[in-house]
Amino acid sequence: MTDTAMRRLPSAATLLLAQIRYQAKLLAGGRAVVIGVGLPVILLIASSTRQAHPSAADIAGYACFGLTLTAWNTYGVRLVAAREAGVLKRWRATPLPRWCYFLGRIAACVIVAAIAGAATVLAAVLLYHTHLSTSAWPGALAAFVLGGTAWAAAATALSAAIPTAEAAAPTLMLIYFPVIIISGVFGSISEPHWLYTLATYLPAQPLAGAVTSALSHPPGTPLLPVRDVAVLAAWAAAGLATAIAVFRWEPHRPARPRPPRR
């Protein structure tokens, strides 16, 4: 055993915190995250031309739009790009525990996505003097964290099936927009009934419902609807379990190496 090997490795907790900080800096520093923060606020302002004060459901919808853009599209595209560039392979070869990288990346995404969601709510408060009860912020933040985890975990799981960085954005968008639209994030959809029912099992509608509930919080009701929380928790758990099972650290490569030159 050498001197290097005998010295103590840094603790996993220290490395996890460093990873979260590093990944958050990468995600928040990218230009794409500006869309997650800026676009929902622009849409919120644009919608005010139709009504003087946006409703809790409108604010929640735009906040969820920003959050999911970050936790699904921006995060997913960056994850695939990092894998295909060999960045994940490089990390895998270091003494960093693999779960630390994995968890650090998702935790950082949830933090940045929650900030994107909170920015829309803050804009509503500042621009339209939307009144929020004292429990609204913690309730909304809890919903953002749970929803961000569900979307980021699902994106991590799906990333294994995306072969190239170029394919990442189209693949993620192809799933994202139909889910967001049928879930009523930009306005409720109640017909056809089967579509509405389907949406209640996807992670967008329960997220928007939980945030709406937190922001309006009628007296005598739970801060977050139990069913919405359960659906989001199920997506988070299933996404994480699938991601752990199928996660790819190395770039896709041709099925066979090049034949030797003769």
């Binding site: 290097t4 090997a5 990468l26 560039a85 060999g86 070869a93 003494p95 190496p257 034949p259 030797p260």
Partner: protein
Amino acid sequence: MNASGIAVAAEHLTKRYGALAAVDDLTFEVPAGQLVAVLGPNGAGKTTTLEILEGFAAPTSGTARVLGADPRRGGRAWRARIGLVLQSTSLEAELTVRETLALYARLYPAPRPVGEVMSLAGLTGDAQTRVGVLSGGQRRRVDLAIGIIGQPEVLFLDEPTTGLDPEARRRTWHAVQDLTAAGTTVILTTHYIDEAGYLADRLLLISAGRLLADTTPGRLRAQGGPPVVRYPLRDPALTPDLPPGLACHYDPHARALVIRGGDVAGALRDLLAWTGPRSLDLSAIEVGPASLEDAYLTAIGELPGSTS
């Protein structure tokens, strides 16, 4: 490392992709502190061999041991003793060079100081530059800096100087020499034969996944065949004018007369007899033993006229 001082060992190592054997029954041992260059043409199995030794790929059969452990089962402590530079650059573009190195340094129990590593890799002037705006050669230096920041006992370098300018290559060579002088075991793959000749204690020649030769640069060159006369002939208009005894030695790829073996004095006489009346410059003529590159090409059967 095991008790006998062997840092890296491969025994009947084989990696198959369907019917194709990318690595075919490789057996070798590398003592601690040695620098071994793995040479071979594209697709020979060099990178696949390295990937097995680094723990990225599992062999189809055979065993690999690095610092006494199966690379596929190496834990954190084992990975802290290994450094690697992958074949292609693998960096996040948003961080500065210093931030990147500080981030990786934090992972190891006894990292080299970031400033020292930047100096060693020639990156001191780029400390505050974002990795994304560095040139390809500078990024390659960052790769090398990350590979050595944990003070590895075994360092895998997969074509580390590809894309570097000559000055940067030399600097990298010196950095690698410093590491081997300090006792680091280095496994290097390269397409630059001069690099292998300059750095390596030992050469493993691989072709079609099989080990063709386990030798040293000196021995390989000695086995490279008879003396060679080289005379650059850049002007293609002159080649039809060559007498048959010289024309058969013209190498169109090298754009030179390359006369291997036989009667060197006679070859020089013929050459002088041809160049004299044409007043051709003779300052570029070379007479000497086969180059390491010639010897390598002969060994892998790629040199025209080689029999292996």
